[in-house]
Structures are given as structure tokens and as C-alpha cells.
């Protein structure tokens, strides 16, 4: 609208720029996805025909992802980690929303900035700092009391804690934003009708927050599933999928089975993204 005075050629050039930009956005994703269906042992041109072997192939050299033991294990660990991180983060996000919107917390703005901070600390630093603290505590107990605190050694528990340390900020921001828009008269009406505080929370406020809680949970799940930087330092023998994939990629010369995994993950996140959009849409109907 603002460019009404500009001529047609200008607008055409602008549209062209947008088209190039969108190609730039999609090109690597298309490349990662399509080679999953190429009937060749290298994920590269030329195109040798369509195949589903990289998903369902049962033997080397075309071992498909659903028969690759290590990839499936990685997928399983990633799933366990992501569900734990999402559950923890949604819980604390909801607590924080009430803390920052409803409570009479002194120095609220200061604490709010503290809450946002984990998001601007580089993931690598979060990873090493948690590794350092956990190992120090574990060593101390080992040396002084000969108690072996195994969960403080690199492994799934530490990975969950490391990812949770910054994912909690994301869920808190999402749920807090939703609670801020809450119309307090709805609660008052419930109180006037004689409902107790617990009942109002359970039947009015929490249902109102549910779309935001589900959306925050999905985002937390995806961020955890895809996280690499923090996980790298905290991982033990049970490698989640991203670490397994990275090891193969860094070695180079992998088969298109990695493309199959990429395609599978893109499909998964696409579906989850759609679900979160649909859940959020609920909000406008209300």
C-alpha cells in the first residue's frame, strides 16, 4: 500500500526478490528430503530412480532407517528426553505465568529479566556450566562419602536438565502472554456463583490456559528434540538422535539413510506445527 506511488517494474522486482528468498529458504530442506528417495548409495545427483529402501530396506548396503538399530535407539532416547523436557517446562511455565501475572512478587521486573536470561546465554555455555557443577558435586560425594551419584554423570538426566534450563524460558513466555490476556471477570463470575478457589482454577483458569500450554509443550518438545549445542556436552552413552546423526555426518560419506531420517523428522515437526497452529486457532473462536 505504502508503495502506491512506485511503478509496476519496481513491484515486479520486489516480487522477484521475494521469490528468490523463498527458494533460498526451501532449497536445503528440499535437498535434505528428496535424496531420501534416490536409489543410490550416495545422497547426491544423478537421480537414479525412486526407492523407499532408505526407510524400509532390511540389509546393507541399503539399510533403511526403520531397521537401523542405532538410529532407532537414538530416536527412542530423543523421544524420552523431549517428553520429559516438555512436561517439566510446561509445569514450570504455568507456575511462572501465575507468579508474574497474579502474585504480589516484589521486584517483579528484575525477576522477569532473570527469567529471560537463559535464552540469551549460548547453549554451549549452558551445557558446560551444568556439566561442571554436576561433576563437581558428584566428585565431592564420591570422595567424601563414597556415594556414587550416577545421575550426575553425563547421561539422560543431565541432558534433560540442560535442555530444560532454557526451554523453561520459552514455555514461561508463551503461557505468561496468554494469562495476561485473561479476562478477570470470568473468574469473578465463578466466585459470585459460589465456587471455591481451587474449583475456579480447575474449571475456569486452567481450561483457558490449555491452548497455550499445549502449544508451549509442542514447542518445548521440538526444541528439545532438535537441540544439539547443549546436549553435546551432557551426553553419555545413550546418544539422542541428533548426536548419532552428527557423528555420521561429520565422518562424511554416509548413505541416504540420513536423508530418510531428515524427511521423517521434517514430516513429524510439520504435523506437530500444524497441531499447534490448530490449537492456537481455538483462541480466536473463544
Amino acid at each position: 500500500m505504502a508503495m502506491k506511488s512506485g511503478n509496476q517494474a519496481y513491484l515486479l522486482g520486489y516480487r522477484l526478490y521475494m521469490a528468490v528468498f523463498l527458494i533460498f529458504l526451501l532449497a536445503p530442506l528440499v535437498a535434505a528430503g528428496t535424496f531420501a528417495f534416490n536409489d543410490s548409495v550416495f545422497p547426491s545427483l544423478p537421480w537414479k530412480g525412486f526407492t523407499l529402501d532408505w526407510f524400509f530396506g532390511t540389509s546393507e548396503p541399503k539399510l533403511g532407517m526403520f531397521h537401523d538399530r542405532r538410529l532407532l535407539q537414538g530416536l527412542y532416547y530423543s523421544f524420552v528426553i523431549a517428553v520429559s523436557v516438555a512436561a517439566l517446562s510446561v509445569f514450570i511455565g504455568t507456575c511462572n505465568a501465575f507468579l508474574f501475572v497474579r502474585s504480589s512478587l516484589p521486584a517483579k521486573n528484575f525477576f522477569y529479566i532473570i527469567m529471560v536470561l537463559p535464552l540469551v546465554i549460548p547453549g554451549v555455555i549452558l551445557g558446560i556450566s551444568i556439566l561442571v557443577l554436576a561433576s563437581t558435586v558428584a566428585n565431592f560425594f564420591d570422595d567424601s562419602y563414597t556415594i556414587d551419584l550416577d545421575f550426575l554423570r553425563p547421561g539422560i538426566v543431565l541432558v534433560v536438565l540442560g535442555q530444560f534450563s532454557f526451554v523453561a524460558t520459552i514455555t514461561s513466555l508463551v503461557i505468561t502472554a496468554r494469562l495476561r490476556k485473561f479476562d478477570a471477570t470470568m473468574e469473578e463470575a465463578a466466585y459470585n456463583l459460589g465456587a471455591s478457589q481451587a474449583r475456579v482454577l480447575w474449571t475456569v483458569t486452567l481450561p483457558y490456559l490449555r491452548p497455550a500450554m499445549i502449544a508451549a509443550g509442542i514447542v518445548a518438545f521440538l526444541v528439545s528434540f532438535e537441540n544439539f549445542n547443549t546436549t553435546l556436552f551432557l551426553v553419555g552413552s545413550e546418544s539422542p538422535l541428533t548426536i548419532t546423526m552428527f557423528d555420521r555426518m561429520a565422518k562424511g560419506g554416509s548413505t541416504p539413510v540420513l536423508n530418510a531420517v531428515s524427511f521423517f523428522l521434517m514430516l513429524g515437526s510439520g504435523i506437530l506445527a500444524l497441531v499447534s497452529v490448530l490449537v492456537q486457532r481455538d483462541k480466536t473462536v473463544r
Partner: protein, 289 residues
Amino acid sequence: MKNRDAKRLTLILLFAPFALWIVLLILLPHIGMGVLSLREKVAPRVYEFGFDNYLDFFREPIYWHILSRTAGISIVVTFLALIIGFPVSYYIAKIAGPRSKGALFMFCLIPLWVSDLIRAFGWILLLRETGAISGILQWTGLVSQPVEFLYNDAAVIVGLVYTVMLFMIVPLTSTLEGMDDAMVEAGYNLGGNGFTVLRRIIIPYAMPGIVSGCIIVFMMTAGSYLTPVLLGGKYSSWFTQTIYDQFITRYNWESGAAFGFLLLIFTSLVVWIGLKLSGQSLSTTVARS
């Protein structure tokens, strides 16, 4: 009276999870890292308190070199993301119709849902010697041999710009959407040309968005590990890679912790300077997005 006690109890119950999270997972780990970084190894299992690990950084030119390289490339990436992203945001916020606006915005967010790893993998498949771009160039006859685009600084920059692009577009678009079209029209009516309107009206208006986008992008780039390592090869000399080497490969945690702190101080410093220069504050920029 009873009501007040109940309120206090609720406050404490709500504050406890927040406090546990921040103290146990953010504050104490960073203190632990700080203490560790101040330990000097004088003999096996014998430690002294001192700044030696930090002095090492200044004594060895290689570490200096890697940090300044990381900073330099991060600034280039931030600048490129701003230059490329600004027109896109302006198009989404001001030129696209109401229906294509939402679709375009969603479209721009797609890569956000895909893992960093897969994005980097996609660029590897495009850029490497046997990759798609080299293949297409050969097919069109522009080059006669396979061309390697991977494992150089340009590949790292392309990959990083791609990774951080959305974090530039989102704050820019939301700021530009708040701008009244009448302001731009007034600028034209007063005789300004496109460039003057851009420089005197649009950019000053978008400044909070520009600053918050640049801060997030710079932090993400300087702290990234995956993209430089995969697209730049083993010797891409990224500072986070040095930290990883100290921790995992050399098992020298003391110096790794010191380097971690240096990265944190350095990025915070750049962000602080950026905020000062543009007259913005952290809560108006980062917390908004």
C-alpha cells in the same frame, strides 16, 4: 489475616519452582564454572587459585585469532541477515495483501521447525563437490569440472545467515506492522524520494526491531557450534569449537571454563555496546520478541 497468610503461602509455592530452576540450573552452574576457571593446575591433582587460564588466552595469539575471527564473521552474518531480511519483513508487513501476508509469514517460519542439523545437512548436500549446485552448473555447461563450495568461510556464512534469518525477520516484521502507512505517504507528499523516506522515516521507526533482531542473531551466531563445524570443516576455527576441544578432547576443564566465560563476557559486551549505541534497553528488545 488468614487470607494474607494464604496469599503468602501461594507466593512462596509459586516462587519455589522458579527459584530452584534459576539457582540450580543457571546461577550455581555459572558460579561453579567461574570457580573452576580460576583454578591453576600446578602439578597433577594440585591446584592454585589464580588467573592463569585467562592469561593463557592473551598469551597465545591463536586463541585471540579464533575469537576475533568468530566475532568478525558473526558481525558479517548479522549485517547480511539484516540487509536480506529487511526487505522481506517490509514486504510481509506493508506490501502483501492480508491473505498472502499470513501465508508468507508462516512460510518464512518453516525452517524454524526443522532442526539445525537437517538445515546444515541440506546445505552440505547442495554445496559439496558432488552436490546439487555443482551438478547443475556442470549440466548447464558453465563449468567443466565439479566445484567444491563447502569447507570455506563463505559456506559458513551462508549456512549461518540461513539459520538465523528468521530471528531477524520476526522482530522486524512485528515492528514494521505497527507503523502507520500515513507516515510513509506524508514523507512522499513532502517531496521525499524513496531513499529519503527509507532513511528518515522507515528505518528510525523500525529501530527497536532492528536492534532486537541484531542482538538475537549475533548471540546465536557467536554461540553456534553445529553450522561452522559441519560447513567449515574440522579447522573452521570457531570459538565454541575451541571450548569443545578443551573440554572433551584435551580434558582441560579449567581452561575450557575460562574460555566459556570469555565468550560469555565478550558476547554480552558486544550486546551492551549495541544497546548503548542505539539507545535501547534489554527489556524493550529481547523480552518483546
